[in-house]
């Protein structure tokens, strides 16, 4: 009996998971310079500042990250500009990224992710937050790939999650995070920030370790003013993002006695097969497409070959069709 379909059996279907990485460069000229700050968006509420890759009034502009600033109640003072907002930002970011302790209180950002240590310098009390757009981070930032070069206290500093591919923390409600250091030798207790890989948020200590004008952040500068200082010191930022690709692979197996004829109108002249002179000539057809069908014959997916593929009774083929989700 003639047929045009072949059923897929359970051993013809396989699922795979692939991680794709892209390199993301955010140069200082984009963050501060090229567009005369026309790509910087400030809001009336003053809670954060947005950075675009092009003047944000253009439809071509993509949002790339936000900058904001906050501190704990240790630094709270009514004389500070935007005191309440800075407190609120810290608490908001901390409750999302760090979570709560057993009493239900919001935890502070911990310098090395070890909440058991309670030394005087163990917490990040004032922080600059860099919230990267999902457009850049995709599913997550690749561990060990984050580098941020800024001009700060004592010259340029390269901040990175050195060695994080083999040394990261998992005690955050938003997934995995690594500790940021200013030197490639990661020494416990010397971290200057945290990078939350799935959340796409970098938390930098807003102390004089990194920023010369850190004291101004607390008192005299607004949040957007702090963001301006951070941007002006921005030299370069690079990381790799990760996209998790789940695929189903369908192995379409073409046996020697299958798919050797065609219903293409040009295949017949009258009813005679044009590729055959006599009945003993091989039956030959050429594949250009593979259709994946439901049980009720609805075409659900199509794969195309880059060139026609000859199929006759003398060959067998397995075509591997991958559907990505």
């Amino acid at each position: 009996m003639a047929t045009v379909f072949k059923n897929l059996l359970s051993n013809d279907i396989a699922t795979t998971r692939t991680l794709l990485n892209e390199a993301i460069p955010i140069t200082g000229t984009i963050v501060s310079g090229t567009y005369n700050d026309e790509n910087i968006k400030n809001y009336a509420h003053g809670m954060f500042q947005s950075v675009y890759d092009y003047p944000y009034l253009s439809s071509s502009a993509n949002h790339i990250f936000d900058i904001t600033y906050g501190y704990t109640s240790e630094y709270s003072a009514s004389a500070n500009l935007q005191n309440a907002k800075k407190l609120n930002i810290y608490n908001q970011m901390a409750q999302v990224l760090v979570g709560y302790d057993v009493t239900g209180s919001i935890r502070k950002f911990d310098r090395d992710g070890d909440f058991a240590t309670t030394g005087s310098n163990s917490k990040l009390e004032t922080c600059v937050f860099l919230n990267y757009s999902r457009l850049l981070t995709k599913d997550e930032v690749k561990k060990g790939s984050y580098r941020l070069t800024i001009s700060g206290s004592g010259g340029d500093k390269v901040i990175g999650d050195y060695g994080a591919q083999n040394d990261y923390r998992v005690n955050s409600p938003t997934g995995e995070y690594g500790v940021l250091y200013t030197s490639s030798a990661a020494v416990a207790g010397t971290g200057v920030g945290l990078i939350y890989y799935q959340a796409g948020v970098a938390v930098l200590t807003a102390s004089s370790d990194l920023f010369e004008s850190a004291t101004d952040f607390t008192g005299t500068l607004s949040i957007s003013g702090t963001a301006d200082v951070v941007r002006e010191g921005w030299i370069d930022n690079d990381f790799n993002n990760t996209t998790e690709l789940n695929s189903t692979v369908y192995f379409c197996r073409l046996n020697n006695n299958e798919f050797n004829y065609s219903s293409n109108p040009t295949y017949l002249s009258g009813s005679k097969i044009v590729t055959k002179e006599k009945s003993t000539d091989p039956s030959v057809a050429y594949v250009t497409s593979i259709g994946l069908y439901s049980a009720d014959n609805e075409l659900l997916a199509v794969a195309k070959l880059s060139e026609p593929l000859k199929k006759d009774q003398n060959n067998e083929l397995t075509l591997r069709v991958r559907l990505d989700y």
Partner: protein, 306 residues
Amino acid sequence: MGFLDNSGDIILDAVLTDTGRARLAKGDGTFRIAKFALGDDEIDYALYDNDNPSGSAYFDLEILQTPVLEAFTNNTANLNSKLISIARTNLLYLPTMAVNTNFSGDTKLNESINMFYVTVDKETNDAATTIDSAKQGIINGFENSGGSYVRVDQGLDTTEVSQKRNLDSDLVETQYIIELDTRLGEITESLDTGAGATATISFIDDDQIASYYLSLGTDTGFVSSIPIPARVPSGEMIIDGPLGTFLKFKVLASIDLQTSTFLFTELGGTVNLNGTDFYYIDSNIRVTGATTGTRLDIPVRFIKKQ
């Protein structure tokens, strides 16, 4: 030992069709891939050169150089011609399908436009002689009564094999798929073979195309075996060789076409026939053999008197 040339890797570019995406979005489990088929839409087999003096390696040289288009996401635009699996490799002829315009006066296409007319309402049907004085190829789409209908015959269209031979059983088409835009009409039996019942729609895709699956033995009002040629008067067949089955049906216009001109103005145009103005919509009814994959597009013109 040298290396094989692997510069011409075959790369697959797979996309979900619009129907696939719609079913995936539904999340009701209807997105389940169960089978596959192969297509060769871009191939022109007339380029196969059996007589190339350089030898058999050159027979299909031009075919193998055919550029292939990227996949379309419209489910109806892909795999229009499919590859067929038949266990026998010694076939020299394959069955084809054709609109049998020879069977009777009721099965003829309208000669002036070479398609079937479908009158969508009573007023238009009453004016059938205005459309064509002999009412040739005019299907009454207002109600299921006698008159013109579509008959599609299947078999080997060759005089090399006698029509008195039986068509090999593995080449007989036993199930037909009819596809028709549901906005325009529906498929019904023609009265001389059945009770005039409307065919059951198997499914309607995202482009409003309805598919009807009609099988030999089950849908007796639509599909029948063609009697042995000795029993049919000569000249009634359109296919010259051994015959398989035939499909016959009529088209009823949709309620929208009967009661409104909206679709006519959106999808069609106007035409003056013998001094009377009509709206019209041109469309195709696609008939596909479910087992042999053979396909036939039948042009129809839905017409409404202004």
